[in-house]
């Protein structure tokens, strides 16, 4: 029984196996992701009704919320794989964090950027020290820390494990940071009204939002597969199958 689980684990942990599966899944992820995202965005931009208080500027929500949502989930996913890296030392888990951290950082940046631009018509300034934006900014710092540490340690295995420790420490801190930033926010400027978190949102608004969140998720899946494949190619370059792949596809 134990042997069987171990074999299964080995199979799922095998870079070659993952490379094949990823190649098969990627066109679907990309295609469906793009369709969903485009549907959500077009619907949100052109067909959803204008918001009562903010007018049309609220249409930024259809990219702000998916970006912010995904940026946070990516960090959580990284934490889960960090546990796998530390406990079972699975190669694929190491690669996931390495492949995905820059994507997370870009999405966090996009969430911040869209939030800031949204703030201009809403609050009249480009930057407001609002609880959500501030937490996102700190999340961006956390991502920077991960990326910087990753590139500072040359040995790949040590780098993966050190980054795993950092990511786990970060994920324990995220709720604490969120909570303290919210408390700090109420202490300094009682929020007049927040960008998102509307008490009730019409279906014409949240359905496209849901579509774009799903679409972006799938696109992220595609990006993650692509970037993990690259990491696999880098790391496994001595193996026969990668050599064969390189001679076949390098042209």
């Amino acid at each position: 029984m134990w042997q069987f689980i171990r074999q299964l684990f080995h199979k799922f942990g095998s870079p070659k196996w993952f490379y094949g599966i990823a190649s098969k899944m990627m066109p679907w992820l990309l295609g469906i992701g793009l369709i969903l995202l485009l549907a959500g965005l077009v619907w949100g931009l052109a067909f959803a009704p204008a918001e009562r208080l903010q007018g049309n500027s609220y249409r930024i929500i259809f990219i702000h919320v998916p970006s912010a949502f995904l940026a946070q989930s990516i960090y959580i996913m990284m934490a889960v794989t960090a546990v796998v890296t530390l406990v079972w030392r699975m190669k694929l888990a190491d690669l996931f964090v390495r492949a995905v951290a820059p994507v997370g950082a870009v999405l966090t940046f996009l969430a911040l950027f869209t939030g800031a631009v949204w703030g201009k018509p809403t609050w009249g300034t480009w930057w407001v020290w609002d609880a959500r934006l501030t937490s996102m900014l700190i999340l961006l710092f956390l991502y920077f820390g991960v990326i910087v540490l990753m590139s500072a340690i040359t040995d790949e295995k040590s780098s993966a494990r050190a980054v795993a420790v950092l990511v786990l420490v970060g994920v324990v801190n995220i709720p604490i940071i969120k909570y303290s930033v919210e408390w700090w926010n109420t202490l300094h400027q009682p929020a007049t009204f927040k960008l998102t978190d509307k008490p009730s949102m019409a279906p014409e608004m949240w359905v496209p939002l849901l579509l774009s969140v799903l679409g972006l998720y799938l696109l992220f899946g595609w990006l993650a597969c692509l970037r993990m494949q690259t990491e696999i190619l880098k790391r496994e370059h001595r193996t026969r199958w990668v050599r064969d792949l390189a001679t076949a596809e390098g042209n």
Partner: protein, 213 residues
């Protein structure tokens, strides 16, 4: 034949693109001296650090007295005395303080015994001089004084003869032979031309580039 104290099965270690060693089995049996040999970069220090439990980026299994080592780290480390390239001597403390700090966490010893150990390595009169004022060879001797008061059966010594003078080398060789004779075990690397009676040799080659995994 006695049971091996420390046993390593199917050790593999990679550094960068190179496999330092793979499929390596090591048994450290009481009463033996094992010298790890190989050219620069063959992974001698890495192997010693893996055996000592300082480096855990390897694959393979390690057993202490027949049981997996990971389950009994504290017992294992209590029975191991490791002296590495960096001898573990704080420059701001005196030889006596250093020796006291290093032994107190294993087996508290009286200052008298520690001073005797320092005498035994030729450091009479240096008990209370800060180690930063000592020469490299003298600092090395402070670390080696631990061997004289050791009750640990397993000694792992990396480049033990570095910076020692002629007499120091002879004395240390004698000490290693005695330790083995009394049922301890020694694992050692050295560039010094060492040939002790009954010494086992473990040869590491130049790592090969990784091929089909």
């Amino acid at each position: 034949m006695s049971e091996p104290m420390l046993k390593a099965v199917n050790l593999q270690c990679e550094r960068g693109d190179r496999i330092l060693f793979q499929g390596l089995d090591v048994s450290i049996v009481p009463g033996t001296i094992t010298r790890v040999e190989g050219p620069n970069g063959a992974g001698k220090t890495t192997l010693l650090r893996i055996l000592a439990g300082l480096n855990d980026s390897y694959t393979g299994d390690l057993f202490w007295c027949g049981e997996p080592r990971a389950w009994q780290r504290e017992v294992f480390h209590r029975n191991l005395l490791y002296i590495g390239h960096r001898p573990g001597i704080k420059p701001l403390l005196t030889p006596l303080e250093n020796l006291r700090a290093l032994s107190a966490v294993r087996r508290p010893l009286s200052d008298g015994a520690l001073c005797q150990a320092l005498d035994g390595t030729g450091l009479q009169g240096y008990y209370h001089v800060q180690c930063r004022n000592l020469s490299a060879g003298q600092q090395r001797r402070v670390a080696l004084a631990r061997l004289l008061v050791s009750d640990e059966p397993l000694w792992i010594l990396d480049e033990a003869f570095t910076a020692l003078d002629y007499h120091g080398v002879a004395g240390l060789e004698q000490l290693l032979v005695e330790h083995a004779a009394s049922g301890g075990a020694v694992v050692i690397t050295t560039h010094h031309d060492l040939d002790l009676p009954g010494m086992a040799r473990l040869k590491l080659g130049v790592g090969e580039p990784m091929n089909d995994a």
